[in-house]
Protein backbone atom coordinates (compact mmCIF):
# COMPACT_ATOMS: atom_id res chain seq x y z
CA UNK A 1 0.00 0.00 0.00
CA UNK A 2 1.35 3.43 -0.93
CA UNK A 3 2.60 5.64 1.87
CA UNK A 4 1.08 9.04 2.63
CA UNK A 5 4.15 10.63 1.02
CA UNK A 6 3.73 8.60 -2.17
CA UNK A 7 0.02 9.39 -2.44
CA UNK A 8 0.61 13.10 -1.85
CA UNK A 9 3.25 13.05 -4.57
CA UNK A 10 0.83 11.36 -7.00
CA UNK A 11 -1.83 13.98 -6.25
CA UNK A 12 0.62 16.82 -6.86
CA UNK A 13 1.83 15.22 -10.12
CA UNK A 14 -1.78 14.98 -11.32
CA UNK A 15 -2.52 18.62 -10.63
CA UNK A 16 0.73 20.50 -11.20
CA UNK A 17 3.00 20.71 -14.21
CA UNK A 18 6.09 19.40 -12.39
CA UNK A 19 8.54 16.53 -12.60
CA UNK A 20 8.53 13.82 -9.90
CA UNK A 21 12.04 14.81 -8.72
CA UNK A 22 10.81 18.33 -7.92
CA UNK A 23 8.40 17.03 -5.29
CA UNK A 24 10.54 16.95 -2.16
CA UNK A 25 9.48 17.73 1.43
CA UNK A 26 11.07 21.19 1.34
CA UNK A 27 9.54 22.23 -2.01
CA UNK A 28 7.27 25.25 -1.55
CA UNK A 29 3.93 24.58 -3.24
CA UNK A 30 3.45 28.10 -4.62
CA UNK A 31 6.97 29.46 -5.07
CA UNK A 32 8.73 26.29 -6.24
CA UNK A 33 5.96 24.14 -7.74
CA UNK A 34 4.13 27.16 -9.24
CA UNK A 35 0.67 26.24 -7.92
CA UNK A 36 -2.05 28.78 -8.74
CA UNK A 37 -4.93 29.56 -6.37
CA UNK A 38 -7.20 27.12 -8.28
CA UNK A 39 -4.48 24.47 -8.04
CA UNK A 40 -4.38 24.93 -4.26
CA UNK A 41 -8.14 24.40 -4.04
CA UNK A 42 -7.85 21.24 -6.16
CA UNK A 43 -4.91 19.93 -4.15
CA UNK A 44 -6.71 20.39 -0.81
CA UNK A 45 -9.84 18.78 -2.27
CA UNK A 46 -7.92 15.81 -3.64
CA UNK A 47 -6.05 15.31 -0.35
CA UNK A 48 -9.31 15.28 1.61
CA UNK A 49 -11.09 12.96 -0.79
CA UNK A 50 -8.16 10.56 -1.22
CA UNK A 51 -7.61 10.15 2.52
CA UNK A 52 -11.27 10.70 3.50
CA UNK A 53 -10.43 13.35 6.06
CA UNK A 54 -11.69 16.90 6.59
CA UNK A 55 -9.30 19.82 6.56
CA UNK A 56 -10.39 23.30 7.66
CA UNK A 57 -9.65 26.48 5.73
CA UNK A 58 -7.33 27.56 8.53
CA UNK A 59 -5.36 24.31 8.44
CA UNK A 60 -5.13 24.38 4.64
CA UNK A 61 -3.92 27.98 4.79
CA UNK A 62 -0.85 26.89 6.82
CA UNK A 63 0.46 24.57 4.11
CA UNK A 64 3.61 26.10 2.60
CA UNK A 65 5.66 23.04 1.59
CA UNK A 66 5.04 19.48 0.48
CA UNK A 67 6.25 18.39 3.92
CA UNK A 68 3.58 20.59 5.57
CA UNK A 69 0.86 18.85 3.49
CA UNK A 70 2.14 15.41 4.48
CA UNK A 71 2.31 16.36 8.19
CA UNK A 72 -1.21 17.85 8.10
CA UNK A 73 -2.58 14.72 6.49
CA UNK A 74 -0.90 12.39 8.97
CA UNK A 75 -2.39 14.42 11.80
CA UNK A 76 -5.85 14.35 10.19
CA UNK A 77 -5.63 10.59 9.64
CA UNK A 78 -4.57 10.04 13.26
CA UNK A 79 -7.37 12.28 14.53
CA UNK A 80 -9.91 10.36 12.48
CA UNK A 81 -8.58 7.03 13.75
CA UNK A 82 -8.95 8.32 17.31
CA UNK A 83 -12.61 9.09 16.70
CA UNK A 84 -12.41 12.72 15.59
CA UNK A 85 -13.73 14.09 12.22
Amino acid sequence: MATVEEQVKEILLNILDVKPEEIVPTARVIEDLKATSIDIVEIVTALQNTFDVNVTDEEAGKIRTVGDAVDLLKAAIAKKAAGGT
Partner: protein, 408 residues
Protein backbone atom coordinates in the same frame (compact mmCIF):
# COMPACT_ATOMS: atom_id res chain seq x y z
CA UNK B 1 -22.75 34.03 -48.25
CA UNK B 2 -19.25 32.56 -48.69
CA UNK B 3 -18.88 28.94 -49.68
CA UNK B 4 -17.91 26.52 -46.92
CA UNK B 5 -15.98 23.25 -47.17
CA UNK B 6 -15.52 20.35 -44.75
CA UNK B 7 -11.79 19.69 -44.64
CA UNK B 8 -11.28 17.44 -41.61
CA UNK B 9 -13.15 14.85 -39.56
CA UNK B 10 -12.56 13.34 -36.14
CA UNK B 11 -14.68 10.89 -34.19
CA UNK B 12 -14.97 9.07 -30.88
CA UNK B 13 -17.93 6.70 -30.89
CA UNK B 14 -19.26 3.29 -30.00
CA UNK B 15 -18.24 2.09 -33.49
CA UNK B 16 -14.70 3.41 -33.43
CA UNK B 17 -12.44 6.07 -32.00
CA UNK B 18 -11.21 7.36 -35.36
CA UNK B 19 -12.66 7.71 -38.85
CA UNK B 20 -10.87 4.61 -40.22
CA UNK B 21 -12.42 2.44 -37.51
CA UNK B 22 -15.85 4.04 -37.99
CA UNK B 23 -15.58 3.55 -41.74
CA UNK B 24 -14.85 -0.16 -41.29
CA UNK B 25 -17.79 -0.52 -38.91
CA UNK B 26 -20.10 1.22 -41.40
CA UNK B 27 -18.97 -0.97 -44.29
CA UNK B 28 -19.10 -4.20 -42.29
CA UNK B 29 -22.25 -3.37 -40.27
CA UNK B 30 -20.26 -3.92 -37.09
CA UNK B 31 -22.50 -2.80 -34.23
CA UNK B 32 -21.18 -0.78 -31.29
CA UNK B 33 -24.09 -1.74 -29.01
CA UNK B 34 -23.29 -3.98 -26.05
CA UNK B 35 -24.69 -5.29 -22.80
CA UNK B 36 -24.30 -2.72 -19.99
CA UNK B 37 -24.32 -4.64 -16.67
CA UNK B 38 -25.00 -1.51 -14.60
CA UNK B 39 -28.28 -0.92 -16.43
CA UNK B 40 -29.47 -4.35 -15.38
CA UNK B 41 -28.23 -3.89 -11.81
CA UNK B 42 -30.03 -0.57 -11.52
CA UNK B 43 -33.32 -2.09 -12.72
CA UNK B 44 -33.64 -0.55 -16.19
CA UNK B 45 -35.85 -2.42 -18.66
CA UNK B 46 -33.24 -1.91 -21.37
CA UNK B 47 -29.83 -3.41 -20.59
CA UNK B 48 -27.90 -2.29 -23.68
CA UNK B 49 -26.07 0.83 -24.79
CA UNK B 50 -23.32 2.13 -27.03
CA UNK B 51 -20.22 2.95 -25.01
CA UNK B 52 -16.90 4.38 -26.12
CA UNK B 53 -14.37 1.56 -25.80
CA UNK B 54 -10.64 1.64 -25.24
CA UNK B 55 -10.07 5.38 -25.70
CA UNK B 56 -6.64 6.51 -24.51
CA UNK B 57 -6.54 10.16 -23.42
CA UNK B 58 -3.36 10.18 -21.31
CA UNK B 59 -1.47 11.83 -24.20
CA UNK B 60 -3.59 14.98 -23.71
CA UNK B 61 -1.61 15.66 -20.53
CA UNK B 62 -2.53 15.40 -16.86
CA UNK B 63 -2.93 19.12 -16.27
CA UNK B 64 -5.17 19.67 -19.29
CA UNK B 65 -7.24 16.62 -18.37
CA UNK B 66 -7.95 18.14 -14.92
CA UNK B 67 -10.43 20.57 -16.42
CA UNK B 68 -12.11 17.92 -18.57
CA UNK B 69 -14.77 15.37 -17.78
CA UNK B 70 -15.48 12.73 -20.43
CA UNK B 71 -17.51 15.01 -22.70
CA UNK B 72 -14.50 17.31 -23.16
CA UNK B 73 -12.05 14.39 -23.37
CA UNK B 74 -14.09 12.83 -26.20
CA UNK B 75 -14.20 16.21 -27.96
CA UNK B 76 -10.46 16.71 -27.52
CA UNK B 77 -9.60 13.32 -28.99
CA UNK B 78 -11.97 13.87 -31.93
CA UNK B 79 -10.74 17.43 -32.48
CA UNK B 80 -7.14 16.27 -32.51
CA UNK B 81 -7.94 13.78 -35.28
CA UNK B 82 -9.95 16.37 -37.22
CA UNK B 83 -7.21 19.01 -37.10
CA UNK B 84 -4.58 16.48 -38.22
CA UNK B 85 -6.93 15.16 -40.91
CA UNK B 86 -7.42 18.68 -42.25
CA UNK B 87 -3.65 19.27 -42.10
CA UNK B 88 -4.39 22.69 -40.66
CA UNK B 89 -1.24 24.80 -40.19
CA UNK B 90 -0.52 25.46 -36.47
CA UNK B 91 -1.31 29.17 -36.63
CA UNK B 92 -4.70 28.70 -38.37
CA UNK B 93 -6.45 28.11 -35.04
CA UNK B 94 -4.54 30.59 -32.85
CA UNK B 95 -6.52 33.49 -34.23
CA UNK B 96 -9.67 35.56 -33.67
CA UNK B 97 -10.69 34.31 -37.14
CA UNK B 98 -10.94 30.75 -35.80
CA UNK B 99 -14.09 29.62 -34.02
CA UNK B 100 -15.45 26.66 -32.08
CA UNK B 101 -19.09 25.57 -31.88
CA UNK B 102 -19.37 22.24 -30.08
CA UNK B 103 -22.79 21.38 -28.77
CA UNK B 104 -23.90 18.92 -26.13
CA UNK B 105 -27.17 18.01 -24.49
CA UNK B 106 -25.99 17.63 -20.93
CA UNK B 107 -22.35 18.76 -20.75
CA UNK B 108 -20.26 17.35 -17.92
CA UNK B 109 -23.31 15.86 -16.27
CA UNK B 110 -21.40 13.20 -14.30
CA UNK B 111 -19.24 15.89 -12.73
CA UNK B 112 -22.29 17.80 -11.55
CA UNK B 113 -23.84 14.64 -10.15
CA UNK B 114 -20.57 13.85 -8.34
CA UNK B 115 -20.41 17.30 -6.74
CA UNK B 116 -23.92 16.93 -5.34
CA UNK B 117 -23.15 13.44 -4.06
CA UNK B 118 -19.89 14.52 -2.38
CA UNK B 119 -21.61 17.44 -0.65
CA UNK B 120 -24.52 15.27 0.50
CA UNK B 121 -22.18 12.56 1.85
CA UNK B 122 -19.53 14.76 3.50
CA UNK B 123 -21.45 17.94 4.44
CA UNK B 124 -18.18 19.70 3.59
CA UNK B 125 -18.17 22.09 0.60
CA UNK B 126 -14.35 22.00 0.59
CA UNK B 127 -14.60 18.42 -0.67
CA UNK B 128 -16.26 19.55 -3.89
CA UNK B 129 -13.16 21.33 -5.11
CA UNK B 130 -12.77 24.13 -7.64
CA UNK B 131 -12.47 22.55 -11.08
CA UNK B 132 -15.85 20.82 -10.99
CA UNK B 133 -17.53 23.87 -12.48
CA UNK B 134 -15.35 23.98 -15.59
CA UNK B 135 -15.66 20.21 -15.93
CA UNK B 136 -19.44 20.35 -15.59
CA UNK B 137 -20.51 23.51 -17.41
CA UNK B 138 -22.35 23.18 -20.70
CA UNK B 139 -19.55 24.80 -22.69
CA UNK B 140 -16.84 22.61 -21.18
CA UNK B 141 -15.99 20.84 -24.45
CA UNK B 142 -15.89 24.02 -26.55
CA UNK B 143 -14.02 26.04 -23.93
CA UNK B 144 -11.46 23.31 -23.23
CA UNK B 145 -10.73 23.01 -26.94
CA UNK B 146 -10.18 26.77 -27.14
CA UNK B 147 -7.82 26.81 -24.13
CA UNK B 148 -5.96 23.77 -25.44
CA UNK B 149 -5.64 24.86 -29.09
CA UNK B 150 -5.37 28.63 -28.59
CA UNK B 151 -8.56 29.52 -30.48
CA UNK B 152 -9.49 33.20 -30.04
CA UNK B 153 -12.68 33.75 -32.06
CA UNK B 154 -16.30 32.81 -31.29
CA UNK B 155 -16.27 29.87 -28.87
CA UNK B 156 -19.44 28.43 -27.38
CA UNK B 157 -21.74 25.45 -27.10
CA UNK B 158 -25.36 25.14 -28.07
CA UNK B 159 -28.19 22.71 -27.43
CA UNK B 160 -31.22 21.77 -29.46
CA UNK B 161 -31.69 18.35 -27.93
CA UNK B 162 -30.90 15.62 -30.49
CA UNK B 163 -30.49 18.17 -33.31
CA UNK B 164 -27.60 19.73 -31.38
CA UNK B 165 -24.77 18.36 -33.52
CA UNK B 166 -26.53 19.27 -36.76
CA UNK B 167 -27.30 22.78 -35.54
CA UNK B 168 -23.72 23.25 -34.30
CA UNK B 169 -22.40 22.41 -37.75
CA UNK B 170 -25.07 24.63 -39.32
CA UNK B 171 -24.19 27.53 -37.05
CA UNK B 172 -20.49 27.13 -37.85
CA UNK B 173 -21.40 27.10 -41.55
CA UNK B 174 -23.23 30.40 -41.07
CA UNK B 175 -20.37 31.96 -39.06
CA UNK B 176 -17.97 31.24 -41.91
CA UNK B 177 -20.49 32.00 -44.65
CA UNK B 178 -21.14 35.46 -43.23
CA UNK B 179 -17.45 36.21 -42.77
CA UNK B 180 -17.23 36.07 -38.96
CA UNK B 181 -14.73 33.20 -39.07
CA UNK B 182 -12.48 31.54 -41.65
CA UNK B 183 -12.13 28.18 -39.92
CA UNK B 184 -14.30 26.48 -37.32
CA UNK B 185 -14.14 23.32 -35.29
CA UNK B 186 -17.73 22.21 -34.87
CA UNK B 187 -19.88 19.29 -33.94
CA UNK B 188 -21.17 17.64 -30.81
CA UNK B 189 -20.03 15.72 -27.77
CA UNK B 190 -21.89 13.72 -25.15
CA UNK B 191 -20.77 11.63 -22.19
CA UNK B 192 -22.95 8.81 -20.97
CA UNK B 193 -25.82 10.13 -18.85
CA UNK B 194 -27.01 6.62 -18.07
CA UNK B 195 -27.46 7.38 -14.37
CA UNK B 196 -29.07 10.78 -14.91
CA UNK B 197 -31.14 10.81 -18.10
CA UNK B 198 -31.28 7.45 -19.91
CA UNK B 199 -33.86 6.29 -17.38
CA UNK B 200 -36.34 8.89 -18.67
CA UNK B 201 -36.37 7.26 -22.09
CA UNK B 202 -36.59 3.82 -20.49
CA UNK B 203 -39.60 5.00 -18.47
CA UNK B 204 -41.39 6.30 -21.59
CA UNK B 205 -40.99 2.87 -23.18
CA UNK B 206 -38.68 4.45 -25.74
CA UNK B 207 -35.91 1.89 -25.32
CA UNK B 208 -35.95 -1.78 -26.40
CA UNK B 209 -36.13 -4.49 -23.73
CA UNK B 210 -36.79 -7.81 -25.44
CA UNK B 211 -33.34 -8.24 -27.01
CA UNK B 212 -31.10 -7.59 -24.01
CA UNK B 213 -29.40 -10.91 -24.81
CA UNK B 214 -28.67 -9.77 -28.37
CA UNK B 215 -27.52 -6.16 -28.00
CA UNK B 216 -26.58 -5.75 -31.66
CA UNK B 217 -30.18 -6.57 -32.65
CA UNK B 218 -31.87 -4.22 -30.20
CA UNK B 219 -32.24 -0.99 -32.21
CA UNK B 220 -34.27 -1.62 -35.40
CA UNK B 221 -35.23 1.60 -37.21
CA UNK B 222 -38.31 1.29 -39.45
CA UNK B 223 -38.62 -2.45 -38.66
CA UNK B 224 -41.91 -4.15 -37.78
CA UNK B 225 -40.41 -5.28 -34.46
CA UNK B 226 -38.82 -2.00 -33.46
CA UNK B 227 -39.17 -1.14 -29.78
CA UNK B 228 -37.16 2.01 -29.34
CA UNK B 229 -33.74 3.56 -29.48
CA UNK B 230 -30.46 2.64 -27.81
CA UNK B 231 -28.40 5.46 -26.33
CA UNK B 232 -24.68 5.95 -26.75
CA UNK B 233 -21.91 8.52 -26.21
CA UNK B 234 -18.91 10.07 -27.94
CA UNK B 235 -17.93 13.11 -29.99
CA UNK B 236 -17.83 14.14 -33.64
CA UNK B 237 -15.78 17.12 -34.74
CA UNK B 238 -15.64 18.62 -38.23
CA UNK B 239 -13.24 21.24 -39.53
CA UNK B 240 -15.14 23.74 -41.65
CA UNK B 241 -13.27 26.31 -43.71
CA UNK B 242 -14.07 29.14 -46.06
CA UNK B 243 -13.57 27.73 -49.53
CA UNK B 244 -10.89 30.22 -50.56
CA UNK B 245 -9.04 29.72 -47.27
CA UNK B 246 -9.06 25.94 -47.78
CA UNK B 247 -8.14 25.82 -51.46
CA UNK B 248 -5.38 28.39 -51.02
CA UNK B 249 -3.50 26.06 -48.65
CA UNK B 250 -4.16 22.96 -50.76
CA UNK B 251 -6.73 21.28 -48.53
CA UNK B 252 -8.53 18.14 -49.75
CA UNK B 253 -12.16 18.69 -48.74
CA UNK B 254 -14.67 15.94 -48.05
CA UNK B 255 -17.55 18.06 -49.29
CA UNK B 256 -19.08 21.48 -49.55
CA UNK B 257 -21.99 22.33 -47.26
CA UNK B 258 -24.64 23.55 -49.67
CA UNK B 259 -27.68 23.73 -47.43
CA UNK B 260 -28.70 24.10 -43.80
CA UNK B 261 -32.15 24.34 -42.31
CA UNK B 262 -33.38 24.48 -38.73
CA UNK B 263 -36.94 24.75 -37.53
CA UNK B 264 -38.95 24.03 -34.40
CA UNK B 265 -42.36 22.34 -34.45
CA UNK B 266 -43.73 24.93 -32.00
CA UNK B 267 -45.98 22.16 -30.78
CA UNK B 268 -44.99 19.87 -27.90
CA UNK B 269 -42.04 19.02 -25.66
CA UNK B 270 -42.24 15.25 -26.24
CA UNK B 271 -44.10 14.47 -29.48
CA UNK B 272 -43.00 15.67 -32.92
CA UNK B 273 -45.54 17.15 -35.33
CA UNK B 274 -43.57 16.76 -38.56
CA UNK B 275 -44.01 20.41 -39.46
CA UNK B 276 -40.62 21.53 -38.20
CA UNK B 277 -38.89 18.65 -39.99
CA UNK B 278 -40.68 19.50 -43.23
CA UNK B 279 -39.76 23.18 -42.89
CA UNK B 280 -36.07 22.61 -42.08
CA UNK B 281 -35.65 20.25 -45.04
CA UNK B 282 -37.37 22.82 -47.27
CA UNK B 283 -35.00 25.52 -46.01
CA UNK B 284 -31.96 23.34 -46.70
CA UNK B 285 -33.24 22.39 -50.15
CA UNK B 286 -33.95 26.03 -51.04
CA UNK B 287 -30.41 26.94 -50.08
CA UNK B 288 -29.09 23.94 -52.01
CA UNK B 289 -30.98 24.95 -55.15
CA UNK B 290 -29.21 28.33 -55.04
CA UNK B 291 -25.95 26.39 -55.08
CA UNK B 292 -27.10 24.30 -58.04
CA UNK B 293 -28.30 21.19 -56.18
CA UNK B 294 -30.92 19.42 -58.29
CA UNK B 295 -31.26 16.11 -56.50
CA UNK B 296 -30.39 14.36 -53.25
CA UNK B 297 -28.78 10.94 -53.70
CA UNK B 298 -28.87 9.77 -50.07
CA UNK B 299 -30.58 10.74 -46.82
CA UNK B 300 -29.09 9.80 -43.46
CA UNK B 301 -32.32 10.04 -41.51
CA UNK B 302 -32.76 10.53 -37.77
CA UNK B 303 -34.27 7.01 -37.63
CA UNK B 304 -34.26 6.32 -33.91
CA UNK B 305 -36.21 3.07 -34.03
CA UNK B 306 -39.07 4.42 -31.92
CA UNK B 307 -42.70 3.65 -32.71
CA UNK B 308 -43.71 7.31 -33.08
CA UNK B 309 -40.89 9.04 -34.86
CA UNK B 310 -39.93 6.57 -37.61
CA UNK B 311 -43.25 6.70 -39.54
CA UNK B 312 -43.48 10.47 -39.15
CA UNK B 313 -40.14 11.11 -40.85
CA UNK B 314 -40.90 8.55 -43.57
CA UNK B 315 -44.12 10.47 -44.26
CA UNK B 316 -42.18 13.76 -44.46
CA UNK B 317 -39.64 12.25 -46.89
CA UNK B 318 -42.45 10.88 -49.09
CA UNK B 319 -44.26 14.21 -49.18
CA UNK B 320 -41.17 16.23 -49.99
CA UNK B 321 -39.38 13.90 -52.40
CA UNK B 322 -42.13 11.75 -53.90
CA UNK B 323 -41.50 8.25 -55.21
CA UNK B 324 -38.87 6.99 -55.73
CA UNK B 325 -37.28 8.84 -52.85
CA UNK B 326 -33.55 9.30 -52.40
CA UNK B 327 -31.85 6.30 -50.78
CA UNK B 328 -32.60 6.34 -47.06
CA UNK B 329 -30.86 4.72 -44.12
CA UNK B 330 -30.43 5.29 -40.42
CA UNK B 331 -27.12 4.53 -38.69
CA UNK B 332 -28.60 4.42 -35.17
CA UNK B 333 -29.06 0.67 -35.31
CA UNK B 334 -25.28 0.44 -35.61
CA UNK B 335 -23.92 3.26 -33.49
CA UNK B 336 -26.80 4.08 -31.20
CA UNK B 337 -28.21 7.51 -30.44
CA UNK B 338 -25.53 9.73 -28.93
CA UNK B 339 -27.84 12.63 -28.00
CA UNK B 340 -25.91 15.88 -28.45
CA UNK B 341 -23.24 14.13 -30.52
CA UNK B 342 -25.57 12.23 -32.80
CA UNK B 343 -25.98 14.96 -35.41
CA UNK B 344 -22.21 15.28 -35.69
CA UNK B 345 -21.66 11.50 -35.72
CA UNK B 346 -24.20 11.12 -38.52
CA UNK B 347 -22.78 14.03 -40.51
CA UNK B 348 -19.40 12.27 -40.32
CA UNK B 349 -20.90 8.90 -41.36
CA UNK B 350 -22.62 10.66 -44.27
CA UNK B 351 -19.40 12.39 -45.35
CA UNK B 352 -17.48 9.10 -45.20
CA UNK B 353 -20.12 7.49 -47.43
CA UNK B 354 -19.93 10.46 -49.80
CA UNK B 355 -16.15 10.27 -50.07
CA UNK B 356 -15.95 6.49 -50.39
CA UNK B 357 -19.02 5.98 -52.58
CA UNK B 358 -21.25 3.67 -50.57
CA UNK B 359 -24.41 3.65 -48.48
CA UNK B 360 -24.44 1.89 -45.13
CA UNK B 361 -27.70 0.00 -44.59
CA UNK B 362 -30.15 0.44 -41.74
CA UNK B 363 -28.98 -2.32 -39.40
CA UNK B 364 -31.69 -4.77 -38.29
CA UNK B 365 -34.22 -3.55 -40.87
CA UNK B 366 -35.44 -7.05 -41.70
CA UNK B 367 -39.16 -6.45 -42.27
CA UNK B 368 -40.16 -2.89 -43.13
CA UNK B 369 -43.12 -1.84 -40.96
CA UNK B 370 -46.25 -0.97 -42.96
CA UNK B 371 -46.21 2.56 -41.54
CA UNK B 372 -42.62 3.02 -42.72
CA UNK B 373 -43.04 1.87 -46.30
CA UNK B 374 -42.82 4.04 -49.37
CA UNK B 375 -39.22 5.30 -49.31
CA UNK B 376 -36.09 3.71 -50.78
CA UNK B 377 -34.82 1.96 -47.65
CA UNK B 378 -31.27 0.61 -47.90
CA UNK B 379 -31.16 -2.80 -46.23
CA UNK B 380 -27.77 -4.03 -47.36
CA UNK B 381 -24.45 -2.36 -48.15
CA UNK B 382 -24.68 -0.53 -51.45
CA UNK B 383 -21.74 0.76 -53.50
CA UNK B 384 -22.91 4.04 -54.99
CA UNK B 385 -20.99 7.05 -56.34
CA UNK B 386 -22.97 9.62 -54.36
CA UNK B 387 -22.85 13.29 -55.35
CA UNK B 388 -25.14 14.88 -52.76
CA UNK B 389 -26.27 13.69 -49.36
CA UNK B 390 -28.56 14.98 -46.65
CA UNK B 391 -28.43 14.38 -42.90
CA UNK B 392 -31.28 15.41 -40.62
CA UNK B 393 -32.05 15.05 -36.94
CA UNK B 394 -34.98 15.82 -34.66
CA UNK B 395 -35.05 16.30 -30.92
CA UNK B 396 -37.17 16.82 -27.85
CA UNK B 397 -38.91 20.13 -27.57
CA UNK B 398 -39.72 20.16 -31.28
CA UNK B 399 -36.16 20.61 -32.57
CA UNK B 400 -35.33 19.77 -36.20
CA UNK B 401 -32.23 20.46 -38.30
CA UNK B 402 -30.94 19.42 -41.70
CA UNK B 403 -27.65 19.66 -43.62
CA UNK B 404 -26.90 19.01 -47.29
CA UNK B 405 -23.41 18.05 -48.45
CA UNK B 406 -22.12 17.95 -52.02
CA UNK B 407 -18.99 16.23 -53.21
CA UNK B 408 -16.39 18.84 -54.22
Amino acid sequence: MRRVLVTGLGIVSSIGNNTDAALRSLRESRSGIEFVPEMKELGFRCHVGGRVKGLDVAWIGRRTLLSMSNVARFAAAAASEAVQDAKLPPDALKSPRAAIVVGTCLGGVNEIAKAERVLRETHNPLRVGGAGLVRGMHSTAAANLAAWLGVQGRVYSLCSSFSTGTDAIGHAYELIGRGTADVCLCGGAEESSMRQAWGCLDNWGGMPSSRNDRPEKACRPYDQDREGTVLSEGAGILVLEARDHALQRGAHPYAEIVGYGSSNDGFDMFNPSGEGLTECIRQAMAAGRERGVRRIDYINAHGTGTKVHDPLEVQVIKELFGTPSPLVSSTKGLAGHSLGATGAHEAIFTLLMLRHGFVAPTLNLERIAPDCEGVSHVQSLREDPLETAMSFNAGLGGANACLIFRKP
